[in-house]
Symmetry: C2
Subunit: 247 residues, 2 copies
């Protein structure tokens, strides 16, 4: 993990930009984090829009978690996003999706698989290697909370990575059928956000996925509005969910 | 409002038992409540099991709201419950329901109407008169939050009583079709609890009722487990919902 820049903000949160195995990322830690009092870690998997574009929203969440609740927070660029090399298979799948939607046709399971599965296959091992590097730092401790936008990545990671102790997920569209099956293997506490009128998300499919998770403690927070309309108060509700399970 | 007994607890919450127009009730107020700093009010409509039986749970919630968030909290006995005169129409409807369930038959709309509508007709005006009495006290101020178990009472009250500024509802079974229509008239912020595996509650009917509410801000908190299995953390989530809207 090679730190390329760092700055400390008024809220006593230290932000470090880093490169790990060629993948850019950010780490935010509260002043209180130290080798004798390591901060529990929340990792945020971003949407596939590039870290540059997502920075204000990610940094806002991360600094709130760090400053108000004492968490360390990290994010890394998704495969094929931002400045990382494009993935031909994803570009092809996105072009197919665009054509299908513009033609007013239903999005097939094949397109969903092609859009999501290559991303899951690449992103999950990257997240596991990133956990290795982050948890090796003296000021960061386990257990780990996962939060992220592409729900399929969170499902796979929560199902197979034992260091993930709780997950805050965002019910998004386009979940491959194999991922719905993997959701049955997830047993950690979950808090799932659902936007009730999400234009790109089938409500019943989201409820079915919520139902499929194997976790004994799982909570669905459904709010009014479209995909980008998650109410501000869910930020604190998310932090309190992680505080219950990571502290 | 005739206070029949009072006691102050270690948490500096004052509990008063009262009788108002022949209806028994409880009022809990934090030490901080005064004429110069009146406490916002939360009213809790209890389940139809009698205040005696419900006292531990009600007092636990109320004292948490009062001690931790500075709310005044009140409850009154439902019509036909506890020591209040029985209501023949309700007794009849409950006997019909019992027979229907024991016979394994579906519960008809007629039975639901007979079970719920007489209770709504009587309870809602009683709650409005109770608000008059409570809000006349110098240490209690508006706006008012409503919370309660029989969701139909909450729907009617939130739809017609302008002093109700926010409502925390528990998605229960047996909602008359007319009440679902009234839900469209409700516009105040809502937080609705749904127990995902509620043995006496049809999940789809609960989701449909949530969908029907006219409120622009409404949040559904769905949790695992049966009717009585609401997780402890929802107590604080409810308090924070009211704190956002009543303070």
């Amino acid at each position: 993990m090679h730190v390329t820049s760092e700055q400390r903000f008024d809220d006593d949160v230290l932000e470090r930009e880093f490169i790990l195995d060629g993948i850019p990322g950010f780490l935010w830690t509260p002043e209180s984090a130290s080798a004798s009092a390591p901060a529990p870690l929340i990792v945020i998997s971003p949407p596939p829009l590039g870290l540059d574009k997502m920075y204000p929203r990610l940094a806002g969440r991360a600094r709130y978690y760090a400053a108000e609740y004492g968490f360390a927070v990290a994010t890394i660029e998704l495969p094929g996003s931002g400045d990382r090399p494009r993935l031909a298979v994803l570009d092809q799948a996105r072009a197919d999706l665009r054509r299908t939607v513009e033609a007013g046709e239903p999005v097939s399971g094949e397109i969903v698989d092609a859009l999501i599965l290559p991303l899951v296959e690449k992103a999950v091992p990257e997240w596991r290697a990133t956990l290795d590097a982050l948890l090796a730092r003296p000021e960061i401790g386990g257990p780990v909370g996962y939060e992220g936008g592409i729900i399929s990545i969170g499902v796979r990671l929560a199902a197979i990575e034992p260091r993930i102790a709780a997950a805050g997920l965002f019910a998004g569209s386009f979940v491959p059928a194999t991922i719905v099956e993997e959701a049955r293997e997830v047993t950690v506490p979950l808090q799932v956000l659902l936007q009730w009128d999400d234009e790109g998300n089938d409500r019943q499919a989201a409820l079915d996925l919520f139902d499929a998770f194997g976790s004994r403690e799982k909570t669905l927070h459904a709010n009014m509005g479209g995909h980008t309309g998650v109410p501000k108060f869910e930020l604190d509700a998310g932090a309190r969910f992680f505080a219950r399970h990571l502290k």
